[in-house]
């Protein structure tokens, strides 16, 4: 006869409520692990999906995901000329925050190197990749934008031609994919008044300089739009991404590119590590510590619950001892209840997590490995938390049944 299950059945309502409480607590522990996984996954997903072998970035910087990186657009042509490079593309990446329907609208803008890259590698759940050099975008579904919707940034309007899923920046913002030209337009958009003021200032500087006085045509040139002026460089890009030809050595190409003093080069693995050890690391440690604290709290609460359940049974335990029950029977009663409570709590945590985690603003990824790990932790805290109750139960004297 299993006394633990008989007792649970007799106090089913109370035990169920306790199980739900423990389950919700364990769900938070499970969720914390899932949030951490989500952060890591989000941070590395883009690097993995883009699939570049090398990232060429501004000298002494750690790449566009870790900090601001600016390199000239012409760098892509230099990179293409390096032996062993199969393909080099421009990469533009920045985060913007605008307003939409009266609410903050925050997203990461990623520039695709049209026409080499039309976003074919972006996993679409609706729509299509980019089909023209301007005014089209693919957005992550987390941004809450519908297919065919028009988004206005600056003076331009962009049509949503594709919807993707789980393309999230390391900061948790949904990513929108544009061509590099459009991404730069969004980044460097200036109002008409600002453009006019800049042209006037340029003309004024030219007029006041010796060369402007000697060559009046230069003053005339200064009034033209900046893209018509050869002296003004194109907007800078964030990085150049390089794919190494099959059979060529990534290390060798990286060594060659590293020889240029105006850039730094990171491999895909290096870029991922920089990201994880940089911006994600603090979040990882913070969540990890929080998870440890929650686990301890769960163990303490379970111990108190089991201790209270044991206190309620002291007379029964004394009676069992009086009729000759060995300590193992009493120990088994409490330990089995602790394990059932832990198991029920774990099951409820898993069920609730499955229902609630998808509603979280950031991805919560619970892997099988994490589930097994948590199951082990629950087993350990179930055993540990039953010790207080067992200690109390073993001290009960059979004579207490007579009182």
């Amino acid at each position: 006869m299993n006394l633990a299950l008989k007792d649970i059945r007799h106090n089913l309502g109370r035990f169920t409520l306790t199980g739900v409480g423990v389950g919700m607590l364990l769900m938070i522990v499970m969720g914390m692990g899932g949030i951490y996984r989500g952060i890591v996954e989000d941070a590395t997903l883009l690097i993995d999906r883009i699939g570049a072998d090398l990232w060429v970035v501004q000298h002494d910087t750690r790449g566009p995901f870790a900090e601001v990186s600016r390199v000239p657009a012409s760098l892509v042509h230099r990179a293409r000329a390096v032996p062993g490079v199969m393909n080099a593309r421009e990469f533009v990446y920045h985060t913007i925050q605008r307003e939409r329907d009266g609410k903050p609208f925050r997203m990461s803008v990623l520039g695709l190197s049209w026409p080499d890259d039309k976003g074919d590698w972006v996993p679409l759940i609706a729509g299509r990749p980019l089909a023209q050099n301007h005014f089209e975008t693919i957005v992550d579904e987390s941004l809450g934008v519908r297919l065919d919707e028009r988004l206005t940034f600056g003076k331009e309007t962009y049509r949503v031609v594709g919807i993707t899923r789980n393309m999230i920046s390391s900061g948790g913002d949904g990513i929108a994919f544009f061509t590099v030209a459009d991404a730069e337009s969004i980044q460097f958009d200036s109002s008409g008044e600002a453009v006019r003021l800049e042209q006037a200032a340029r003309k004024n500087r030219a007029e006041q300089s010796d060369i402007g006085t000697k060559q009046p045509t230069l003053v005339e040139q200064a009034s033209k739009p900046s893209y018509e002026l050869p002296a003004i460089a194109r907007p800078q890009i964030s990085a150049v991404i390089v794919q190494v030809a099959p059979g060529s050595s990534v290390e060798q190409v990286a060594t060659t590119l590293s020889g240029w003093s105006d850039v730094s080069v990171h491999t895909r693995v290096g870029q991922t590590e920089l990201l994880l050890k940089g911006s994600v690391d603090k979040a990882r440690r913070q969540i990890g510590l929080f998870r440890v604290l929650l686990t301890i709290i769960a163990a303490v609460i379970m111990a108190l619950i089991l201790y209270t359940l044991t206190l309620d049974k002291l007379h029964t335990i004394a009676l069992l001892k009086l009729i000759g029950a060995p300590n193992m029977v009493v120990l088994g009663l409490i330990l089995q209840q602790a394990l059932v409570l832990g198991g029920v709590g774990f099951g409820i945590a898993y069920f609730l997590g499955q229902q609630l985690f998808p509603l979280f603003p950031r991805r919560v990824i619970v892997t099988n490995e994490d589930l097994w790990q948590l199951a082990g932790i629950v087993l350990a805290i179930s055993i540990a938390s039953s010790l207080l109750g067992i200690w109390k139960a073993l001290r009960v004297q059979p004579s207490e049944a007579l009182s």
Partner: protein
């Protein structure tokens, strides 16, 4: 164990505390209960009756004195000469003032657990539990929880549990206190019947003067001193 007394308690003394706080709850108490004998133990509250019962029931060993059950020496002063829980399980049955049933087990399971603790298989224990409940007239309540039984029914289930392992001795501490006079008399007569049919030595602590006719021997206790009073007439 065959011809030896069911209980032989010699010179039991129980002292609580020490020095200024020392209290002698029982002083040099001796009692012999033969197999099939039904013994009443009378006395006012606080006289030491429960202390005596706890000592011979191997629950709370005496400070000094010896206890033998069925001819086997079990206690020599506070020292146990065998495993008390195991011996209690096999040879001692208890019935209390309150029924003291396990609240989350039904009537059958309350009896069955005593058998299973004594290593009976679940099937055998179940059959014997049902048989005992039938003998005690509560078979129809076998699947009911204690909270659904009347006081008399609970006491009968408790007696069935006490008898489950065919104990050498049955100790009852005011078993009729919570019952009306008719049911109280029925329980007392049941003890006499059990003693005679099973050869069990029965010791009943009671205040109920109306049921004294069922006892073979009456002891009284006052200020921790046990004395044999008179021989009762068995009906």
């Amino acid at each position: 164990m065959n011809d030896s007394p069911a209980i032989e308690a010699i010179g039991l003394t129980k002292v609580y505390g020490s020095g200024n706080t020392e209290v002698v709850a029982m002083r040099n108490a001796s009692m012999t209960v033969q197999r099939g004998e039904v013994v009443a133990l009378l006395g006012p509250s606080g006289s030491g009756k429960s202390t005596f019962l706890a000592a011979v029931g191997l629950i709370n060993p005496p400070t000094s004195g010896r206890v033998s059950i069925g001819g086997q020496s079990i206690l020599d002063g506070p020292r146990a000469l065998t495993s008390l829980p195991a011996f209690r399980r096999q040879h001692v049955g208890f019935v209390f003032q309150k029924s003291n049933l396990i609240p989350f087990l039904n009537a059958r399971e309350n009896v069955q657990i005593a058998l299973e603790l004594n290593h009976s298989s679940s099937r055998v224990a179940r059959q014997r539990a049902l048989k005992l409940l039938d003998e005690l007239g509560v078979a129809d309540q076998s699947e009911n929880l204690p909270s659904m039984l009347s006081g008399g029914q609970q006491q009968r289930v408790a007696i069935a549990r006490a008898l489950a392992n065919q104990p050498s001795i049955l100790l009852a501490d005011e078993p009729t206190a919570a019952l009306d006079s008719q049911r109280g008399r029925q329980v007392m007569e049941l003890f006499a019947q059990i003693a005679h049919e099973h050869g069990t030595g029965v010791v009943v602590v009671t205040h109920d003067q109306r049921a004294l006719h069922v006892f073979n021997t009456i002891y009284s206790m006052e200020d921790g001193i046990l004395s044999r009073q008179t021989q009762a007439v068995t009906t």
